[in-house]
Symmetry: D2
Subunit: 388 residues, 4 copies
């Protein structure tokens, strides 16, 4: 019989729902050395947490995360709360000897992220593992992109252009939910979705950003207040308005180690773009392009072919030889958003079982946090070049 690891998850909104599906499904598709059990769900409201635990399939519910991270039936803590509580929960969980998987961005500030990375380093020395949940690394097409770059298929990387385009707050009457509050979310589009494209660009190319020049903007500066809610859509309106103190959009240009140029844009005001996390990489021997709105496809141009037959090819990343894909369905039978999380917990569990550090580490999360801080610093200083 395989060892069972109990999971305690804190938070049951959007991220909690999708992480639950990952824990619920992973063992049916991947032959893992350990078996996760959905032990306990943490949340603030006793009624809502119990109801969520029942619906999502958690064996128990806790309203105090401090108790949750100490429970004997918990070996893994999964942090799915807003960014303002990541550091406190994750550090406590690591101190309690629990392996931690923490949602992104790692924290709301560089200082918090540094403390978390330090805690992870100390925990690793005791065999306790930590991972930050940049789920888009686990899109099979993104993992394949990384493989192509690592194998040298692109040659020397010269350009990266990355965008994360959404439109869910384009309407000025959309309420002031927690993701639009600096005290909860740390920043706006920058930390929520900009963090993803920074991590994706660094992951795919294997190169870190060394400096940036940035612009940010808040298009809608006042929004209706709504009842407190952990959900993205907010609750009923109160009739009052509140101030938006985070960015609606962030644009930045930068350089990667090795000299490639990169451009980034994160916005929730791109009408008609729903979840367009896009990245294109151009190298001396080839290029790659990806758009999450067609997440089962990777576009690859092999520049070493004869020009008369070269072109961007649409690889359906559903073949047995593709990352993660062989565990699921026959070719052409695509995966969806949630599968990226199933892959994430699969990799996390394998690392824990192997006594290895999972990736992306808290250190990787800190590195992204430093980029976000550099973006904010540049935007506040006439877009001046700012070293990461």
């Amino acid at each position: 019989m395989k060892p069972v690891l109990g999971v305690g998850m804190v938070g049951h909104a959007f991220m909690g729902r999708v992480h639950s599906q990952a824990w619920r499904s992973v063992s049916a598709f991947f032959d893992l050395p350990v078996v996760p059990s959905m032990a306990v769900l943490g949340g603030r409201s006793p009624e809502r947490t119990a109801e969520a635990a029942r619906r999502l399939g958690w064996a128990a519910a806790e309203t105090d995360w401090k108790r949750l991270v100490q429970r004997d039936d918990v070996q893994i803590v999964d942090v799915c709360t807003p960014g303002d509580s990541h550091a406190e929960i994750a550090i406590a969980a690591l101190a309690a000897g629990k392996h931690v998987i923490c949602e992104k961005p790692l924290a709301n500030t560089v200082a918090e992220a540094e403390a978390m990375a330090e805690a992870a380093r100390q925990a690793a020395a005791r065999g306790v593992r930590a991972m930050v949940a940049f789920n888009y690394r686990r899109v099979p097409a993104v993992a394949l992109a990384r493989r192509f770059v690592a194998e040298g298929r692109l040659g020397e990387v010269r350009h990266v252009r990355a965008q994360y385009l959404q439109d869910w707050i384009a309407d000025p009457e959309f309420p002031l939910v927690w993701r639009l509050r600096r005290d909860r979310a740390g920043s706006g589009a920058l930390g929520d979705i900009g963090a993803h494209i920074v991590d994706t660009a660094q992951f795919v190319t294997g190169r870190n950003l060394v400096g940036v020049s940035a612009l940010t903007e808040t298009f809608v500066r006042e929004r209706p207040l709504a009842d407190a809610s952990e959900g993205l859509a907010g609750g009923s309106r109160t009739g009052e308005k509140g101030t938006v103190d985070v960015d609606d959009a962030a644009l930045f240009i930068g350089r990667l180690e090795g000299g490639a140029l990169a451009s980034f844009e994160a916005t929730r005001f791109a009408a008609g773009r729903k979840n367009a996390l896009r990245i294109e990489v151009n190298g001396s021997k080839g290029s790659l392009a990806f758009d999450f709105e067609a997440m089962n496809e990777l576009w690859f141009h092999d520049h070493t072919l004869d020009g008369a037959e070269a072109g961007f090819r649409r690889i359906m990343v559903t073949e047995p030889g593709h990352p993660y894909a062989g565990a699921w369905w026959p070719p052409g039978h695509g995966l969806g958003y949630e599968h990226t999380f199933t892959h994430e917990v699969k990799d996390f569990l394998e690392a824990v079982a192997a006594g290895a550090d999972p990736a992306p580490s808290f250190e990787d999360g800190l590195r992204v946090q430093r980029v976000l801080a550099a973006v904010e610093a540049s935007a506040a200083d006439e877009s001046r070049w700012t070293v990461v």
Copy 2:
């Protein structure tokens, strides 16, 4: 507490794996009046079935489907076997008072399908429900297409062109798996994937095929024999060859009730097409196009708009107002192949709870079977027009 309905599933190969994921997930995403429990898995080999039950999360295993359909902890029988056993299992299950969901094609012959439809009619009179599992009806984009036609957005339907293109047997060395044997599968591409586009075309347009003219072909007439296997890929080769006695490809043209023209093509020899179930419908007021390889998109042309701004629009079928989509993730966070089955069992469970007949019924399955028979008859008779 909601009533619990025990499920007994027969078969644990490809279809069994995906049905398991549906039963496992459905209650977490849909607020259903009843709760399914994964009671017992049926299979022929004691070892393989027990192992599959453990991995897929079934509480028990049975090697005799006749016992399975009689078990007290089973209220629903899910038939995931090859077509040659559908009739026997489904009829026995209905006779035992179990609701039945049966994989497609409903049967291997019209006679079997007629017996099944008759059994379903008799069972319905006793409050026992039956459904055939044409899962592609539950792609949100396909359900939206049907809604557009039903609402009159296309006007009078004039053309349907449907294709189901795969390439997994294009290699002549691919072995003679059960889907290439008439005694097990009934037919080749025709019944396996042609059945899906016939059902999809009839579902989306709300019109049945009234006649067809057809061609079929077997490109590779001998293939390596492999160890018996329920899987698509076959087991190890025996060194001998066997005769392929089913079609590799089927083409047919026909007419729908109301006068629309339709063309169909089912093949597993379309190199580079992995699971391209495609349908386009042209009407007097608009058109629709869909390709399963981009399953989260529906293309809609509104022909009543001014010509200067009209065009096929790519609707990301991930909005709260779209069929099924609201239960899952925010807009743009797409679904995958397996979700069509989750939607299927959701609709099935709701119908069972409501005491209503689920759709597609065994009668619908029989109707598709009659089309397949007409295709084979026409192909055998100089492509002559054959009334369904």
Copy 3:
């Protein structure tokens, strides 16, 4: 100085306008052994023909094609009239020793086409050349497709699916223009656009159709009468209605020499499809796909690549190594519809100068005509298989 060949063109409607642009432009882009001069334009109305000659750049105008084909300043006759006059004009021109390029379909009946092919054979013996103007062969992407098949890149061809979809008569109030009259046009969608996909399929694969099974339909059987007009849009309405005696749509399935299966659909009722001449070819080693609405692109799947990196690639057919493309602009600076005609007259002039027979020949045009006749015969005989 290069020899000058005078061109006499009959017809100045749609085809006349685009042929004029070809004659006007060809020498500036291709270094030809002969130089065409736009000598004389033929039309029925003295005023309209003179005005068209002035506007389109023809040196003279003639209202009697019989005089035109006898003129000493004419060495080439370009037939751009409706199909009912092709045979008479082309045969007379060949008899007068003029090289002939004739619009498609070659004729309105097989008998006419046979007479034309016979006249062309006799003329060729005297060094007089004839060509039928299937312009889509000269789309660079289509010519590249043919090259790929000829080079064996597709292996054994197994499937062809060809469609020509337009929507310009979907509105029942669109008038009864000449293309909807059997006496002028010979047939409807079948001869006008179906002829193109038959020729394209045979050209790209290098294989002829050997038999077909067909359906045709006239969706709108009465249409408003309009003043006689050579234009596609018709003139002002007369208030009366007339009978449409040609097909609105034609569907057929068939077999090519060598055993490939093929499906064809020609319609002018596909709302939202403007000029979607599409062809896909699947072979044992690769596949090709083309859509004229994106005419500068050819999609090629190389099935011999490792599955993990294979996929349909979008070749921008604008490279120096591509057919015709090097004569024009740098890569990525696409061509349009009219360029297919410029390429056509370029190839025609080179053949004439070389004393060689241009392709497609009148014999090729006759072959297409026989397919159209087989389609009509099958459609009239319960879709029965009809040998070409």
Copy 4:
């Protein structure tokens, strides 16, 4: 009879060839109040210029542009030379009372552009017209995009993202042609293609850039020397290397009047992208997207539609109601690169005939030049925000 205006064109390389096709074709498709005649072609080499004049259809040849601009048979001077001679030729032609159409970028420096704009202002007072040839404004899809914005279909513009991606110098062995020399071309990708996206963005939105922050890079700093050549491909190699003193790529972010954010990228190192001039605009009521590699398509998202049926729609910009398109072919029969120039000279001739100032004016060209200068200044000053 319509008045005839003689054209004298200076330069017969790439731009000269395409302008010739425009002058050659425009009267056949547009019913203009004046008729251009291709009077004289200017070039440096007597032999090459005479040969080009013959091939391209110019009545005469001149080797001294100073004589050309004074000729009595010339009323229009078309400047198709590299940027280092634009100012001198255009100013002399205007002084000689000739209408001028000048290739972009208007000049190599702001000072030259200012002098040209001043000369144009003075000439306009005398009824002499000047236009800068930003041809991409005349892509029907781009003109339609501008119309949509002007009509308010996009609401308040919030984002512009523009890219011009090519790959023709990605190979380090590509020679040091004139476009890679600062003394001839003024700058690299920035002036050659970056100028186009700046103009296109300002044209489509109707808003000017007010400030930028920029990065530029020269990836390949030494290249083989080749014989002097006006062509893009360069002549035979000399065996020596020379220094590239222009940018290979330029990235910049900025703000438009009214507060929209904008990002720009111009590069010739995007392997696989041949002529991808792309622009996307997001507004509060809708969005637009365009890519020149599919130049007959405009993608439009109407954000005021119900979310369940909204999506980016592919408008084939070939309808009679679209800008320029009605003059050409039936819907779906696309145009190519050269047509943008035909539209350009059509608009120019109409303005000249009407005694009106054509657009874009030299003042518009100067405005683009100021943006390019701001980009270079910012890139040289730590990407600091630079007001245009």
